[in-house]
C-alpha cells in the first residue's frame, strides 16, 4: 500500500465527508428542531447544483455564481417551508414521508421541464484547475483542497453560530426540547423558516462544490440523501457535532474502503473472489458502519435529545 495513495485517498475522504456534513447539518437540524423527516432535502441539493451551473454559465464566473445560487436556493427553501412544509410539523412522520416524497417527484420533473433531461456541465473555477502541494512532494487537485477549506470554514462557522450566538442557543433549545422552546415563547415560526433556509443554502453550497466532480443531473439528490441520512443517524439526531463526526467517519470509510478494500482482500483471498467481494463490501461499508454504531449506541454518537 502506497503511503502517497493513502494520503490522497484520505484527503478525498475528508473532502467527501465535509460535503456530506453540509447536507447532514441541514437535515439533522430540521429533524432535531422541527421533528420533521425531510426526504426532499436531496432535491434542494439538486436545485442548488442546477442553479449554480446555470448562473456560472450566465455570468461566466464561478465566484459570482456561487453566492447567487446559494441565495436563490435558500429563498426557494424558505418559500417551501413557509408555504407548505410548516403544515407538516404537527403531522406524524408517515405523512411527512409521503409529502416530501411527493416533493421529490415534483422537483425531478420540474427540473426536467426547465433544463431538459441531459446532465449539465459545471466547471471548477479556472483559478483552481491545477494542483497544489498540500504536503511537499504530494500534488493534490487545488479544487478539492479548496472544498476541504470551505468545508472546514463552514463547520467552524456553524459551530460558532450554534454555540455562541443567541440564534444558536434557540436552535439548541429547540433541538433538545421543542415543547420547552415553545413554552418559552421563542418566535418559533421565524426560527424554523431560518433554520430551513440555512439548510437549503448549505445544500446549494454542497451542490456547487460537488457539481464539478460528480454530475449535475436529475436524481443526484436521491443517491446522496441516503448517505446524509446515514450520517445523521450515526451522529445522533439534532446534533451538529454529531453530523460532523458522522460525516467524516462516513466520508473516510466510504472513500478509503472503495479505494483499498479490493486490494486488501486480494492479500488473503483468491483473486476472483476478492474482485467480486471487494467492491460489494466497499459499497456496503457505510451501512455496516451504521449498524455497528447503532449496536453500541442505539441513539447515535451525540444525540441532542435525551
Amino acid at each position: 500500500m502506497n503511503a502517497l495513495l493513502l494520503l490522497e485517498q484520505g484527503l478525498n475522504g475528508l473532502q467527501f465527508g465535509l460535503m456530506l456534513f453540509l447536507l447532514a447539518a441541514g437535515l439533522t437540524l430540521v429533524f432535531g428542531v422541527m421533528d420533521m423527516v425531510n426526504l426532499a432535502h436531496g432535491s434542494l441539493y439538486m436545485i442548488g447544483a442546477y442553479l449554480m451551473a446555470t448562473a456560472a454559465q450566465a455570468t461566466g464566473s464561478f465566484w459570482i455564481a456561487l453566492p447567487l445560487a446559494m441565495a436563490a436556493t435558500a429563498a426557494i427553501g424558505m418559500a417551501l417551508e413557509s408555504g407548505l412544509l410548516r403544515r407538516l410539523y404537527e403531522r406524524d412522520h408517515l405523512s411527512q414521508v409521503l409529502a416530501t416524497f411527493a416533493l421529490i417527484l415534483i422537483a425531478n420533473d420540474l427540473v426536467r421541464m426547465i433544463w431538459g433531461p441531459q446532465a449539465l456541465l459545471l466547471d471548477a473555477p479556472r483559478a483552481l484547475a491545477r494542483t497544489i502541494e498540500v504536503i511537499p512532494g504530494a500534488p493534490y487537485p487545488a479544487f478539492r483542497a479548496f472544498i476541504i477549506g470551505v468545508g472546514l470554514a463552514v463547520a467552524a462557522a456553524l459551530y460558532w453560530m450554534i454555540a455562541r450566538t443567541r440564534i444558536g442557543a434557540l436552535v439548541r433549545a429547540g433541538a433538545s426540547n421543542r415543547e420547552m422552546a415553545l413554552a418559552l415563547g421563542v418566535n418559533v415560526k421565524r426560527l424554523f423558516t431560518l433554520v430551513f433556509g440555512l439548510g437549503a443554502a448549505l445544500c446549494a453550497l454542497a451542490g456547487a462544490m460537488l457539481g464539478p466532480l460528480l454530475a449535475v443531473q436529475i436524481g443526484m439528490g436521491e443517491a446522496i440523501l441516503i448517505q446524509a441520512f446515514v450520517v445523521v443517524v450515526i451522529g445522533g439526531i439534532g446534533s451538529i457535532r454529531g453530523a460532523l463526526v458522522g460525516a467524516l467517519l462516513v466520508g473516510m470509510v466510504d472513500t478509503i474502503g472503495r479505494a483499498f478494500l479490493p486490494a486488501l482482500l486480494r492479500g488473503f483471498l483468491p483473486n476472483n473472489i476478492a474482485d467480486a467481494l471487494g467492491p460489494t463490501l466497499a459499497a456496503m461499508a457505510i451501512y455496516i458502519l451504521m449498524a455497528a454504531v447503532l449496536y453500541w449506541k442505539p441513539t447515535g454518537l451525540f444525540p441532542a435529545r435525551g
Binding site: L84, L98, A99, F101, A102, F229, M284, M290
Partner: protein, 306 residues
C-alpha cells in the same frame, strides 16, 4: 355487498377487456394486483405491526431474483420456484428483522433501509446473474393445468393469490396474534407487563410479511419478464410505502387501494404528458394535506360526503 361485486368485476374484467380489444390493460391490472400484494404485505408490517420499515422492497426483489435465477438454471416449475421465493423472503426478513427489531423509531427505519441497500449491492455483485443490469426471465413459471403465458390465465392466477392472501390477512387480524399485534401497537410497555414477549411477535409479523413480499416478487418477475437490482432500491421501498399510505395504513384493503390509485394514476397521466411524476406528486401532496388516512380514511368518513 360491495366487496362481492368488486370481486365479480375483477374476474370478469379480462374477458371483457379481450372482447373490447383492450388486452394491454389486462397486463396493467395484473401489475396493479401484484403491487397490491406487495403493499398489503407492508400493511401487515406497518398497519398491523406498527413498524415503519423502509426496506421492504428487499424482500420483494429477493423473491423476484430467486425465480429469475432458478429459471436461468433451468428450474421453471412454479410449484418449486414460488414457494422458494416465499422462503427466501422469510429468510431475509428473519435475519434483517432479528437485528433491526432491537432498535426503535427513526433508527429502526434507517437500519431496515441499510439492510435493504446491502441486499441491493449484493445483487449488483452477482455478475453471473446480470450484476447491475439485471437478468431477463428465461421462461415464465409453469403451473400444472394453467398456461401462465396466457395473459388472462396469469391475471386470474394472480387474482386468486391476492384474494387468498387478503383473506388470510383478514383472519390474522382477527386472531389471537392480531389482537396481540394491536396491543403492541397501542401500548407496548403494557403488553410486556402482561407477559407478552413483544419482540417475538413483531419478528413473526415481520417475517410473515417478508414471505408474502417474496411471493409478490415471484409474480412481478413473471409479469415483467425481467428483474434488476433497481427493484431493491430504497426508492422502491419508498414507493411501496407511498402506495400504502395513499390507500390507508391499517385498513385491510389499504394496499390494494393505494396500488390501484397510484399505478392507474401513473398510467393515465403518462398518456397525457411525459411529466406524469409531477402530476402524481401533486396528487400525493393533496392527499396528505386534505385526506389524511388515505383513501381508506376518506371512505370511512363517508366518501364524497366527507
Amino acid at each position: 355487498m360491495a366487496l362481492g361485486s368488486i370481486l365479480i368485476a375483477a374476474i370478469a374484467f379480462p374477458f371483457a377487456a379481450h372482447a373490447l380489444g383492450w388486452d394491454y390493460y389486462v397486463g396493467v391490472m395484473t401489475r396493479v394486483m401484484i403491487y397490491a400484494l406487495a403493499a398489503s404485505s407492508l400493511n401487515l408490517v406497518l398497519g398491523y405491526g406498527g413498524m415503519i420499515s423502509f426496506g421492504h422492497a428487499a424482500f420483494f426483489g429477493a423473491g423476484a431474483y430467486c425465480v429469475a435465477i432458478l429459471a436461468q438454471e433451468g428450474v421453471v416449475s412454479a410449484l418449486v420456484a414460488w414457494p422458494l421465493a416465499v422462503a427466501v423472503g422469510v429468510a431475509c426478513a428473519l435475519v434483517i428483522g432479528a437485528v433491526s427489531l432491537r432498535t426503535r423509531g427513526l433508527y429502526f427505519i434507517m437500519i431496515t433501509l441499510a439492510f435493504a441497500q446491502m441486499l441491493y449491492y449484493f445483487f449488483v455483485s452477482l455478475k453471473a446473474y446480470g450484476g447491475e443490469d439485471g437478468i431477463n426471465l428465461a421462461a415464465r413459471s409453469r403451473l400444472p393445468g394453467f398456461d401462465l403465458r396466457d395473459e388472462t390465465t396469469f391475471y386470474l392466477v394472480v387474482l386468486a393469490i391476492l384474494a387468498g392472501c387478503l383473506y388470510f390477512l383478514r383472519r390474522l387480524a382477527a386472531s389471537r396474534f392480531g389482537a396481540v399485534l394491536h396491543g403492541i401497537r397501542e401500548n407496548e410497555p403494557r403488553m410486556t407487563a402482561l407477559g407478552y414477549p413483544t419482540y417475538r411477535y413483531r419478528l413473526v409479523c415481520f417475517t410473515v410479511a417478508g414471505g408474502a413480499a417474496g411471493l409478490a416478487g415471484a409474480l412481478i418477475v413473471n409479469q415483467h419478464g425481467f428483474v434488476s437490482p433497481g427493484l431493491l432500491d430504497w426508492t422502491q421501498s419508498g414507493t411501496l410505502l407511498i402506495m400504502l399510505i395513499l390507500g390507508g395504513v391499517g385498513w385491510l384493503y389499504g394496499g390494494v387501494a393505494g396500488a390501484a390509485a397510484m399505478l392507474l394514476l401513473e398510467e393515465v397521466l403518462s398518456h397525457w404528458t411525459g411529466y406524469w411524476k409531477l402530476g402524481l406528486g401533486i396528487v400525493l401532496l393533496l392527499v396528505v394535506l386534505r385526506a389524511p388516512g388515505g383513501l381508506g380514511g376518506w371512505l370511512a368518513r363517508g366518501g364524497a360526503r366527507g
